[in-house]
Symmetry: C4
Subunit: 479 residues, 4 copies
């Protein structure tokens, strides 16, 4: 039979591309080219052995009979000429994943979750930057609870629904967003990477993600916005003790700023002990005099010293003033109680961010998800009056989806994006894709294909509902 | 007195079998042959010293007077002739259990639980196989909860019931099974052992246990079935995007296949990070082109690349089509909500497997036992309309029995059987016997002797019931 | 002033006894003899420095002025003659507590809790004995829960009650006991100490504590009883498959046996994996034949092989038979459900031991305290019909008192007494005194002075009550 | 342009004070003097580089354009003359925070929380003192729960309230206090520091904090009071078995004592095992005779031996006697049940301290916060009849505020002050300021500015309320 003709290893090697792909299995040479896209295990694993001997990996998982069942006899090229075998041929393709090294950044593509990015940042960014970003108030109870609360909610996944494709698009305050999450405002991104907020901006623009620029950004908002012309932004505002400065600041904002997020949960800075332990300059704690001395005694932590100009006297009246000086939508950032959420809705605020400042200010503040749960179950009508966002504790696409199922329009992501910035703009792009992919996978596995299908019905709140204290608002039972 | 005659060690040594068993205690030689089956401590410990001096172990636990109380004087053979004692005689029988070695498989019979088998597999099967089998979605919350939920249910053991013998037999979809558990479908068993699913099949057939063959098995179903002719099987089906291939596949199944388990909880593969970190071939992630490129970017994890042909568009309508092309009972595998269970019953499905794919797909999916609890307490009538199975988290015979008490006809066991396969067919047989024995012991200690006696009354659900959120289905209290 | 006379160190040293006690403080010599019993800090610390210089320890805690305020001037003997000071005099009394050594038994009096005794036993008794005693069924869930459940009950201590003295006496089945706990039956105490159950008996008799002798004791009951003539005992009974043997056994019991505790929770032995791993003789697992072979395959664990003669067919009918062959009170040991407790009361049983065999048989059996809580809150009338005991998890005097507050007449203590036996009879005496003292202290601090004052009112069950599932028995709320 | 003139490093260096402050950034010399107080990041970080080159730290966080936007051109002095740069100039100011050393006390100002002070005390005070202060009863369950219970209460922070300044002042029994906490009574402070309670007194007086002097203080109350003339104190009383001694003691108290705190939760000392293991003198355990011998057998722990004179017979009748011999307000210290609190109110007691003696006496006594929660929710009217304090578990300013929100007038702080005393009076001052600052920050972040605004509304008790067992007192729901 003609198929029995001998084939040399040199000849086999010539067929090592996707468009022309031979493999040797058990001494027989087969043409896999047409079969590549059909392979249940995907083409990659076959291509790895294109032009080579795949006997060992094939037999690890397949029955000897499978190959002749799957490929027609016309794909059998012949028999390997054993006399042409060389030691080089016998070598397997080199394993290409080296062990992670503890003292340097591994290649970005090997980091596959936000936990990976955080772990790498913890050992490769500067001590000062790590202390500033990772720290949270006193015993970090709220900081930890922000994350853990997500894990106490179970899904109620539905099956046998067509989930061929899922769409993660949404609108935030009328602005299109490819995903229901945005880059939360954070101070001084330059501590991590020289491009700072500009790097984040470019990655966000490419991915169709919105970024909320901090008043304390390393670059002026105008510069950040200018780096990706016409891409929309939000602007986070700390109101200055000197209102004229705030007025001037708002008036100076570029036109691509589409909303103002005014922070209300940080009238003073919290006590972030990790931050305070890495002080800017201890030797200056004594010579300082006057009103500022007190802050300095607390160690000169970046968190404390940065907030000197913020007005701790900001109150509800100021929201009217703010409304009078800008025509942009106003979002109140830092809501931690049902009552204040209701007051915002009554005050005509356009949106709120349920937030405890990432657990950085008042330790024991309720985890953001707890407040969202209480608001959703006790005052569901609020969600029709204004948009509700949440930040704090988002580490997974499933976290994003849970918040959305509870009525949030979108969630803010803070620290993880800074940790991703450790790899520059590319790191941020990589991170956005990780979360977007996790979100899409979660949607499909929950049984929905667009965000309009999210609802309480997707969630099993049985383990968290009892402890929410809903009786306070006259809620007897969820149903 | 004649009994005082001297006996040499050589003579004693001649009586070292169960049928002829002398021992020396405190210098006296006794015939233990008739006493062997009477010994409260069992015959083994006596036989260990058959033909030897048992003075030391005897005195460790018995009073000196006991021996003459227990054995009649006719059993006293005489006095040991001390002049015949040799150093060899004085040596105790060698301790025969060596310490486990961390770098190799210990003898199979020293592994006495599924945990032992898992531990050995974790260090002796290939990294790739371990990563593929042991991995679960993202943070592994569901994977851990699958197991832990079992531990939160207490028994209500009843006493003073005759439990001399217990029968573990049951019928699954009309097929006899020696136990209420079956081998759950799992892909590519050959990764662990060359005999793969065939080895499992032989062990199952010997033990009267049913095996559900995966669409992604290493061998074609026909080969697996042929390895144990006439033994019944189930077949797990992933529906292909190309329905004609599925049609052809079903038609090609051997006649010993007795039911089709169609998987519905994996329209797409979950993100199993341990699996993704051990990639098949990282170097191929770039050259790939076209539609498959996206999967490759995720790392080429076996879990992801294997599912390429599975149809994410599978929906309820397809169940009618499936019904039309096979006359076998149809079981829907992957139910995670009460509502979908009810829909299956209404659709005339023959059975369901409550399953979250071993925690491998959607992290945060409810642990299987939670869904079973909800279904049993909220919709008990469903269990009369179709059979209900569960998989995920079964590690002990007590786990099996708890599920059965909650209404499950049987449970599927997945990973542990693959870990047992690390010792080939014999390992699987050993594992089945471990679980069967644990189940039988549990039944007796709970106070029942056949599975027909299982009921909610056997269980104390006090610690889990509150958090189930049964109010959703209008259940106020269990009783 | 005459008091200024010089005193040599030799003279001071002559006054170093409680009846004649001088000390030097700040160069002055004082007579503390009369003050000794008045010292708020107790006499010990003063006596330590009798005849010596106490300046340093005195100043560590007292004001310089205190001494002249507390002692009249007549107690000032004079001034130390500095010229007589020697280096020996200057040395402090030697610290007498050496560090515990990990490889040997520390002095008994340095062990001050049952945890200490357990820790020492774990490293100094034989591996076989430790495995046998310490092991529990499969995953040890019940074993751990037995202890932990006690810690979830809070006291409600009452103050301003006269608690000068407290009486721990009670009566168990009409027999006087100095404390509401007894030595639970345990097999083969000789594994720990050659005196075995006899050593326990002597310690119990001295302390007025009752001992329940196991059918599987190392010595016949008659020998154990004979070791402390006229001291009352209880006898634990495993009913033999051959009832005539049980009949004979009961008839042979000495007259100081005052009750029969028939064990019903161990129709077969549980799977105690630690025990099975330390097998008696692995080499015998093969040659054994016949009915016993199965047990041997399980590893020849002491727990399994000892139970060969126990009748797994024992049932309620047998209680009538048992009643007919003995006139002693009958206690059923091993009750794990409210229902079986009620059945015992209805069957005229004199008492029950709520017990899960120390977590050794069915893993997942409810912790004993949980069953006691359920029985007390759901069926309080049972406690008036028969006596109720509990064993499992008792490690502290507070544990004993909690059980008594919940209605138990007494509790059984098992493993801790065996660990105490590691120091022989003296160890057991020491252990009994530890628990008795802890119990007395607890009573006083709870605000009661005899066991008749115990009640539910002493306990705050708020954290455990919700999870008890009391609705099963129609209990809506505790009050 | 004149601004382009060259400036030498010598010239720059001359402007290195707050009143005259030049910095070099990117080769330009700027005058920051006027900008110093305006800097959002505070003046410290600028002053660190006064007279130096700040290019690197500036660019780490700021955009290059920011400086010319923020400073008018008139502040640009000129260009640095590169030819004058020296290696000394290039050096950064020295980092001044050395690593903490494990074997010595770090500088006090580097300790920023009560945890820091405790950690340092644990390794630098004497073993005996550490054992005495840190120890708690038996398994330390209550001791740990005292702290942990605080962490289970969430805040309900309110936003947009003017919190420019907050006042922490209150009145305790009519005595002014700068803060709602006081120094709880503790025995023998001299074990830690030679100045003992006097050092504490001076720190308290300076800070306007009240101190409650223990009957077992190292110095007589008169001496302690005399150290800070006219500063008010409280006095903790152990009633002596000999009432005349107590009478005499009270009559001897200085006039600055403003209330008597009579301890009722320690009729006998608890079993503090860590304390007992570090015995005063083991060798004396044998020779002691008579009534004291029993205590000595328990190991001569300081806790046990100190309490010899305390009357375990103290009862409600004695409160009338106590009332008759002093005209000072009487506070009962050691209430652990709602019922006893009510009895105190009915007996006309002026205040109570909810306390379990720091978990040192009865293990399993309810954590103080639990009792406060029960009292507040079940018997709110009590708080209008007398003052209620709490001690046990206070480690943070937030803990103080939570107790006050639950109705406590003030809380006592015990162990942490002793650990602070490890640094003498200065350490105590430092500790008081830490807690006071944490309290003030917490108030502002909760949204209140004086203690009169505290209420249940500030707290989210959802996670603790269910387990409190409030049904006992007929409370169905909190609202």
């Amino acid at each position: 039979m003609a198929k029995e003709k001998l084939i040399s290893v040199e000849t086999v090697r010539e067929h090592s591309r996707a468009e022309d792909c031979w493999l040797v299995v058990d001494g027989k040479v087969w043409d896999f080219t047409d079969f590549l896209p059909e392979h249940p295990g995907g083409p990659s694993i076959i291509l790895r052995y294109a032009g080579r001997d795949a006997t060992q990996p094939y037999n690890e998982i397949h029955s000897p009979s499978l190959i002749s069942d799957s490929l027609s006899q016309s794909k059998l090229i012949g028999t390997l000429d054993a006399s042409t075998i060389t030691s080089d041929w016998l070598k397997l393709p080199p394993k290409s994943t080296p062990e992670l090294q503890l003292d340097q950044k591994p290649p970005l593509h090997t980091l596959i979750s936000s936990h990976d990015l955080e772990e790498v940042a913890s050992r490769t960014i500067s001590k000062k930057a790590w202390a500033f970003y990772s720290s949270a108030a006193t015993d970090c109870i709220t900081h930890r609870a922000n994350c853990e609360t997500f894990d106490r909610i179970w899904w109620r996944p539905r099956v046998l629904r067509n989930v061929q494709s899922a769409c993660t698009k949404t609108r935030i305050l009328g602005v299109e967003s490819s995903v229901p999450f945005f880059c939360a405002p954070a101070a001084m991104a330059r501590l991590v990477d020289g491009e700072g907020e500009k790097g984040i901006a470019r990655a966000c623009a490419k991915a169709g993600v919105l970024q909320c620029i901090s008043t304390n950004a390393s670059f002026p908002a105008s510069e950040i916005c200018a780096s990706v012309p016409s891409h929309p932004f939000f602007f986070q505002l700390y109101v200055n003790k000197d209102r004229t400065q705030t007025d001037r600041l708002l008036k100076s904002l570029p036109s691509t700023i589409r909303a103002i997020f005014v922070t209300v949960d940080a009238p003073i800075a919290g006590k972030r002990e990790a931050d305070e332990r890495v002080r800017a300059d201890e030797s200056l704690s004594t010579p300082m005099s006057g009103a500022k001395a007190k802050n300095d005694k607390k160690g000169g932590a970046l968190g404390r010293i940065m907030g000197g100009y913020i007005d701790p006297g900001l109150c509800w009246e100021d929201m009217k003033w703010l409304r009078s000086i800008t025509s942009l939508p106003i979002v109140v950032k830092g809501i931690m109680s049902v009552e204040d959420a209701v007051m915002c809705a009554e005050a005509g605020i356009d949106g709120i961010v349920i937030s405890n400042h990432g657990g950085r200010n008042l330790d024991g503040a309720p985890p953001s998800l707890r407040t969202l749960l209480q608001l959703r179950l006790a005052r569901p009508e609020i969600f029709r009056k204004m948009e509700v966002y949440l930040d704090g504790g988002i580490r997974r696409g499933t976290d994003v989806l849970k918040a959305v199922c509870l009525g949030a329009t979108a969630v803010g992501i803070g620290r993880p994006i800074l940790y991703a910035l450790n790899y520059g703009e590319e790191g941020v792009s990589h991170f956005i894709e990780i979360i977007r992919d996790e979100l899409e996978v979660a949607m499909k596995l929950v049984g929905i294909t667009n965000l309009g299908q999210t609802s309480l019905e997707c969630l099993d709140l049985g383990e968290v509902e009892t402890g929410l204290g809903l009786e306070r608002w006259g809620v007897k039972s969820r149903l």
